[in-house]
């Protein structure tokens, strides 16, 4: 395994009686994108705040590029960038003014701060709006400005805390493109998101967290493989729905879910299912299927399954 640049071991954090993190472990290899996935309140933001030196863990420790986030916070800060859920820029200043100010605060010389500001504005398509007040920017432009502000020092590790929450699809696509470009240059990205397609699009590895712990890790494909393929059946006549459900239940061993007035979907946990057998079984029961598809599960289905299973265990 290549050397991990982000390491978290047994992180605990409580706020009053709320246990935000209960022994979170995380390891992100250099140059990869790690998607931290979890429902609201799972502890994603708390984890990022600890890794970005904004918050101290109650127990456990974390290192960025070998530096402890508590003891060597200064060295960590020189190596990270943070872009948050809300655009953390000064709305009263212009886009260029923000980048210059944060450049100076990153201890670039005046000339270097100006040059870097122009370079980033140009590269991420904000040059036209550079001299406008940020208060007049669209949501997507603000988020992009927030993102490039965190790139001023060319960070080794970039933390993106729900970078596209609340954005329209087009703006999301633009943020995704920017992230891909950064990764191509070798930046390590730790991305939290509630959007499974975002993790599917961007992440090399995914850590699913729930109730402050990692409950599953793996590549998107590995995670999908853990719950097996899915079978989608579309019927010619909705009246045959219950009969079809009985057949599928017997085949798969689990209750199928209704995904439409005439559609059923079921998880096939074991292997060895052949489409031809399924069609024959349906036929024998007198069910006419308009369409039968065997497919990989979506990350959504994996996620619901994982977070749901956790609920039933407790």
């Amino acid at each position: 395994m290549p050397d991990p640049i982000v390491v978290a071991e047994g992180l605990h954090k409580s706020f009053g009686n709320t246990h935000a993190l209960r022994g979170l472990d995380l390891s992100v290899p250099r140059g990869t994108v790690c998607g931290v996935l979890g429902p609201n309140g799972a502890g994603k933001t708390t984890a990022v705040r600890i890794l970005a030196t904004l918050s101290d863990p109650d127990a456990g420790h974390a290192r960025i590029a070998g530096y402890d986030v508590v003891r060597d916070a200064g060295k960590v800060r020189a190596r990270i960038g943070l872009a948050g859920q809300y655009a953390a820029v000064d709305e009263k200043l212009t886009g260029r003014g923000n980048l210059r100010m944060f450049g100076r605060l990153s201890h670039l010389s005046r000339r270097e701060a100006h040059r870097r500001a122009d370079e980033l504005l140009e590269r991420f398509g904000l040059m036209d709006a550079a001299d406008r007040q940020v208060a007049g920017y669209s949501g997507g432009m603000r988020r992009r400005l927030d993102l490039i502000t965190s790139l001023i020092l060319r960070p080794e590790v970039l933390f993106l805390d729900e970078p596209t929450t609340g954005l329209d699809p087009r703006s999301r696509g633009e943020i995704w493109d920017s992230v891909r470009e950064l990764v191509a240059e070798g930046t390590t990205v730790l991305l939290t998101t509630q959007y499974l397609d975002e993790a599917d699009q961007l992440a090399d590895d995914i850590a699913v967290i729930d109730h402050g712990q990692v409950i599953a890790t793996g590549t998107p494909d590995e995670l999908k493989a853990t719950i097996g393929d899915r079978l989608d059946v579309e019927l010619e006549d909705p009246a045959a729905l219950s009969t079809a459900a009985t057949v599928l239940n017997a085949l798969a061993g689990t209750e199928p879910t209704m995904t439409g007035a005439d559609q059923l979907s079921v998880a096939l946990s074991g292997g060895g299912f052949r489409l031809a057998d399924i069609v024959r079984e349906l036929d024998r029961a007198g069910v006419a299927a308009a369409d039968v598809r065997l497919r990989r599960p979506t990350l959504d289905e994996v996620f619901l399954r994982l977070t749901d299973r956790k609920e039933t265990v407790r």
């Binding site: 705040r49 970005a52 030196t53 904004l54 918050s55 101290d56 200064g74 800060r77 020189a78 990270i80 943070l82 948050g84 859920q85 809300y86 655009a87 953390a88 820029v89 000064d90 709305e91 009263k92 200043l93 212009t94 003014g97 100010m101 944060f102 100076r104 605060l105 990153s106 201890h107 007040q133 502000t149 965190s150 020092l153």
Partner: protein
């Protein structure tokens, strides 16, 4: 010491960058400064001409001469609200978190914000002086006492701006901060700025006499040579207004600088 020097230098230069930020904001929105000045300007008209016709200045003298030091104090006190609002906005919008996640000097943020407020305060004071001269106010005691009065106004303003940093960091929410602004009005009204304190009921007079705003107003009147020096049985702070202002400033700084720095460093932890 050699290890300290670069840190000090960065604290200073980061602080300056943040002062520059406030000036950049003013350049983008000069209306903000105008808005901050409208209230005192309205007060000049309201009190100077409406109430002034009915209020007797103790010991005689022109009411507008009496009023202007009170308005200077009022503008000075507004530092608490102005800084509180700015700090709370930074905290609620995540700007403060960005500062904290950057390799910049830790002390630079509160020092930069209070330093910027001093510059803004100086600008506001200059505009108020212009307005005062227009309505017939003027200093009477020569250069040194006049300079002393302005210095005193700025010293207390700087100390008060640290109260604003602390309250802003404590509330962390710009909407709460905005809603809190009117709560500070009694601090300026419950003083000798607009009317003498002699006529107030005993308990209220006690509060007004010990209000730092009253001491500042009394000190300015004394140093500018404006009318309204209290006579008879005078509370200690108003009998020694210059010393009182300096003591208040020192006390506020001693309490609120460490509190604010601690709140900044521990924010969100």
């Amino acid at each position: 010491m050699t290890a300290l020097t670069p840190r000090l230098r960065w604290t200073f230069s980061d602080g300056l960058t943040l002062v520059g930020r406030e000036l950049g904001r003013l350049r983008q929105e000069p209306g903000e400064l105008v808005a901050a000045l409208v209230f005192p300007a309205v007060m000049v008209v309201l009190f100077g001409y409406v109430f002034g016709s009915a209020i007797q200045v103790p010991g005689g003298g022109d009411y507008r001469e009496y009023l202007m030091p009170g308005l200077f104090s009022m503008v000075t006190f507004s530092a608490v609200m102005a800084v509180m609002t700015r700090v709370a906005t930074d905290a609620s919008r995540g700007v403060m978190d960005r500062f904290r996640s950057m390799p910049m000097a830790r002390l630079a943020v509160p020092f930069g914000q209070t330093g910027a407020d001093s510059l803004i305060g100086l600008l506001m004071l200059a505009i108020m002086v212009g307005a005062g001269l227009l309505v017939g106010w003027q200093p009477h005691r020569g250069l040194l006492p006049t300079a002393g009065a302005f210095l005193l106004l700025m010293v207390l303003r700087y100390a008060l701006s640290w109260v604003g940093v602390y309250v802003g960091l404590a509330v962390k929410n710009d909407q709460v901060a905005d809603a809190m602004v009117p709560l500070f009005l009694p601090f300026t009204m419950l003083s000798n700025s607009f009317v003498p304190t002699d006529g107030m009921p005993g308990w209220l007079r006690f509060l007004a006499d010990w209000n730092p705003v009253s001491a500042l107003t009394a000190a300015s009147r004394e140093l500018f040579g404006n009318p309204g020096a209290p006579s008879g049985d005078v509370a200690w702070p108003l009998a020694h207004p210059v010393a009182t202002v300096l003591l208040w400033s020192a006390a506020l700084l001693v309490v609120f600088v460490p509190l604010s720095v601690r709140a900044y460093n521990r924010g969100g932890r």
